[in-house]
């Protein structure tokens, strides 16, 4: 599904949420809430109690301002933007910043793979593995849904492409094409998250323009 169609789909979902459609909430839950939860965990250094607080606070604001969602990004990105702000605000109030993940080397993935497959057992290393694991999951969350699912089916469940095609209800060639687009998309999403985490809190992104004349 092209990006625009995702945005249209998300706008339709938001309209149904505003109308009180229970099925829309189920769709939101399936499509976005897991991703938002994992995002919150990452932003607060895996402090689960704080992540819960940020998750709920994000949704309280989001449900109050659903009408402000204009489909300029995916609904999940919009929710994560609010969450990013909430977390930043939380740390700012307490005059400390979230602990940042140090991915340590290279552009991310190769270095991450080394850490993920290492057997080091000291607490710091275990923590780094957990944080990287969450970042990988978050990168999958950021992909178009069928990309994320196709990658998981292939690399976690080991399904052959034919079966993936069946689950996606597309032909074999189309499934191969989806997988070949999903991999670089995953890498790009991961690298972007890596940069974001390295950069720490940056606040909600708003678009501004210079008025001509």
């Amino acid at each position: 599904m092209p990006e625009d169609e995702h945005h249209h789909r998300d706008q339709a979902l938001v309209r149904r949420l505003m109308d009180g459609d229970e099925a829309a909430f189920e769709q939101l839950s399936e499509q976005c809430l897991g991703g938002l939860w994992r995002f919150a965990l990452t932003r607060v250094g895996h402090d689960e109690q704080l992540a819960r607080e940020m998750f709920q606070s994000t949704l309280a604001t989001a449900f109050e301002t659903l009408a402000a969602y204009r489909g300029e990004s995916t609904l999940l990105s919009w929710l994560c933007g609010i969450c990013r702000f909430k977390v930043g605000s939380h740390y700012r109030t307490r005059r400390r910043r979230p602990r940042e993940v140090d991915l340590d080397a290279g552009d991310g993935l190769e270095a991450v793979l080394g850490t993920l497959t290492s057997s080091g057992g000291d607490p710091e290393e275990r923590l780094r593995r957990r944080e990287m694991t969450t970042l990988v999951h978050l990168a999958l969350d950021q992909l178009p849904e069928r990309y994320g699912r196709a990658l998981e089916w292939k690399y976690l469940e080991g399904l052959p492409v034919g079966e993936i095609a069946g689950r996606l209800q597309v032909g074999l060639k189309a499934a191969e094409s989806i997988l070949s687009r999903a991999r670089p998309a995953f890498r790009a999403a991961f690298q972007k998250l890596h940069r974001d985490v390295e950069g720490g809190y940056r606040g909600l992104r708003l678009v501004t323009e210079r008025r001509s004349g």
Binding site: S29, L33, T61, T65, F85, D141, K154, L206
Partner: protein, 329 residues
């Protein structure tokens, strides 16, 4: 060609191994999903105005409204004249509700003379009077709207911002009357006393035959035994925190950053200074798109200014705007 193919294969393998090594994405905990559902339902109900026992039209107000419709109230007849029939004139609208969802009031509701608004613990309300003045009710407050120019505070605290123009607004309490002279101020009922805290302009306190002036930066506390206390109060910070939390959202979409900054300083009490005088003009030309709903005026600069290529800091109650990456004195 061989190199490219090898690179692609290597890329595929790395992605696959990373995903395999991390395992499936952990699901959202069930209790959080249910909490999210409850929050969603509560917000829906709040928007639909599901009845709740707080933020209610008081029996007094309901009775007054009924009398108005019947056209038999001497009080209201005096106020609006015998020729006025049908719906009573609107003197205020509800601009924002803050706190737990629910209540009979909804954002956008029109309030007529005689209406009373109550808040419970943790609840605040923002109103806009017909003359454009902003009114905020703190927690545990009851305010009766006698007219567009006279408000009766029965308990709690109320904040008024007449936008700098002299509107001669009056806040009545059982101890006396506070009358504004184009200002921002708070009136609070205390145990056996009342206080008037002035942020900008001046307020006159009418205490029986005596009139006392309270200028900006002053809190005057008048006790029922006739004693009067004066204290200095800052234009920003803790004494006004509750007002910030009862501030209706600023509609950012399509507005200039300069307009946004004017709102921020009005709400926070901060003074505004540009590190470079040219920046003042530039902020008039930067148009923002997006929403800052849910953020207070003190929080919003952190979101809006970086996306506009601007940096800021607050020092001694002054908001200093600089170019991002600049020195900004």
């Amino acid at each position: 060609m061989k190199e490219v193919t090898d690179d692609l294969r290597s890329d595929d393998e790395t992605v696959g191994r990373v995903i395999h090594a991390t395992g499936p994405r952990p699901p959202l905990p069930d209790d959080l999903r249910e909490a999210a559902r409850e929050t969603w339902r509560a917000k829906l109900e709040a928007r639909a105005g599901t009845p709740r026992p707080y933020r209610r039209w008081s029996p007094w107000a309901l009775a007054a409204a009924l009398l108005l419709v019947a056209g038999v109230s001497a009080f209201l007849g005096y106020r609006f004249g015998p020729a006025r029939v049908g719906a009573p004139p609107v003197i205020a609208t509800v601009e924002g509700l803050f706190g737990p969802p629910g209540g009979t009031l909804k954002t956008g509701d029109a309030l007529s003379a005689g209406a009373a608004v109550e808040t419970g613990p943790g609840e605040r309300v923002a109103l806009r009077l017909a003359g454009g003045e902003a009114v905020r009710l703190d927690v545990a407050t009851r305010l009766e709207l006698e007219s567009a120019a006279v408000l009766a505070l029965r308990r709690g605290a109320v904040y008024l911002d007449s936008g700098g123009g002299s509107q001669d607004l009056a806040v009545k309490t059982r101890f006396g009357v506070a009358r504004d002279v184009g200002t921002q101020f708070e009136v609070r009922l205390l145990d056996g006393a009342w206080s008037v805290q002035v942020r900008e302009g001046e307020v006159r306190l009418e205490l029986g035959d005596e009139t006392v002036a309270a200028p900006a930066g002053t809190t005057v506390t008048a006790r029922s035994d006739g004693t009067l206390e004066r204290a200095a109060v800052s234009a920003h910070g803790a004494p006004w925190d509750w007002v910030l939390r009862a501030s209706p959202p600023f509609e950012l979409e399509g507005r200039s950053v300069r307009e946004f900054l004017a709102w921020v300083t009005r709400e926070t009490g901060w003074r505004l200074r540009f590190a470079d005088p040219e920046l003042e003009r530039e902020t008039r030309e930067i148009i923002a798109h997006g929403s800052i709903a849910g953020l207070t005026a003190a929080e919003a600069p952190e979101v809006v200014l970086p996306s506009s290529g601007l940096d800021y800091r607050t020092t001694g109650g002054t908001l200093v705007i600089a170019r991002a990456g600049g020195s900004g004195n």
